[in-house]
């Protein structure tokens, strides 16, 4: 059991809105900052939402926590629209578990 804290990391435009709903917010603007922030937060927070840009920047750290139950790091689309990273990760999971993406047909329809 760990203390349940939620954080959001991303560019200022995207994360400011979360501040109003009572979630801890960390604004970052470049790659080094993003990686350091995610790394530092991973110790204390159980859920970290990151914008897709930050997810790309801090990829090395995020991969490290992927196989552990905590912290849960979830990419969310930023204010300027999503890049489909979240869906890509789901696809990767399916391919890993089953060997092929069996939802391909559904998407094409």
């Amino acid at each position: 059991m760990r203390e349940g804290l939620i954080a959001v990391v991303g560019d200022k435009d995207s994360v400011l809105a979360f501040k109003a709903v009572g979630v801890d917010v960390y604004a970052v603007s470049d790659e080094v900052e993003a990686a350091n922030t995610v790394h530092a937060l991973a110790r204390t927070y159980s859920v970290i939402f990151v914008t897709e840009q930050v997810a790309l920047w801090a990829d090395a750290y995020i991969k490290r926590y992927r196989s552990r139950p905590y912290p849960v790091i979830v990419p969310i689309p930023a204010a300027d629209g999503g890049t489909g990273l979240g869906m890509k990760l789901i696809k990767e999971n399916i391919e890993k578990a089953i060997g092929a993406d069996i939802f391909v047909d559904k998407e094409e329809k």
């Binding site: 109003a20 979240g86 789901i90």
Partner: protein, 213 residues
């Protein structure tokens, strides 16, 4: 397939037969586990896709209205408005075992009832809408986090399990079977050797007897 490097003795044969039994049983169990894990994984993945699609649409809408609010009022006013939130999202994070994989479980509660902790005079109405939809979205976001992590962990475990099943099926079990076959043949050969030797000795003794008489 290479056989194991063992002495062809009865004791070794017995040990190997026991190992083979365990390996076959383990293989069956792991295969069943793999089937069940894939079944559950499919359920989770479907939910994951559905949740993510929903969340992405809703989040984009909420952020859009926030951007609009930002465009209308000044940066300072907006930052001031959201700097002292009246609510706080609290989380009880525990974990449960899903097919013996440790997965997170969240229990969300929003404390505080002042949804809009700012003066309505200083900011526009878009902010209200954006914050309302965002705070409604928080439980869904956390559900997404939970399901996505579960999918991640299950996928890892399924991959690991598949390796184990394959190792048993294509390496361990054939190796053991081969070795058991080798030992049985060797033992049979020895036995036949012993029988012929006895027959030979008997024949030689009878020959001697005849010659002596």
């Amino acid at each position: 397939m290479a056989k194991l490097n063992v002495n062809p003795t009865r004791m070794e044969l017995r040990l190997l037969k026991n190992r083979l039994r365990t390996a076959v049983r383990g293989h069956k169990l792991l295969k069943d586990k793999s089937d069940e894990m894939i079944r559950r994984f499919m359920l989770y993945v479907k939910e994951n896709r559905r949740l993510r699609e929903e969340v992405e649409v809703e989040l984009k809408a909420a952020m859009k209205s926030f951007m609009l609010a930002r465009a209308v009022s000044s940066d300072d006013a907006l930052e001031e408005a959201v700097s002292m939130p009246g609510t706080r999202a609290m989380l009880k994070a525990s974990s449960k075992s899903e097919m013996s994989v440790e997965v997170p479980v969240f229990d969300v509660s929003i404390v505080g009832d002042e949804k809009y902790p700012y003066s309505f005079a200083s900011v526009t109405g878009e902010l209200d809408g954006s914050i309302a939809s965002l705070s409604e979205l928080i439980p869904k976001l956390l559900k997404l986090a939970e399901v996505e992590k579960t999918c991640n962990l299950l996928a890892d475990e399924i991959e690991k399990n598949r390796r184990r099943v394959n190792a048993l099926e294509y390496v361990m079990i054939p190796q053991l079977e081969e070795t058991i076959k080798y030992i049985t043949m060797k033992l049979d050969e020895n036995e036949r050797g012993a029988t012929t030797r006895l027959m030979k000795v008997k024949a030689m003794l009878e020959q001697q007897k005849e010659n002596g008489q």
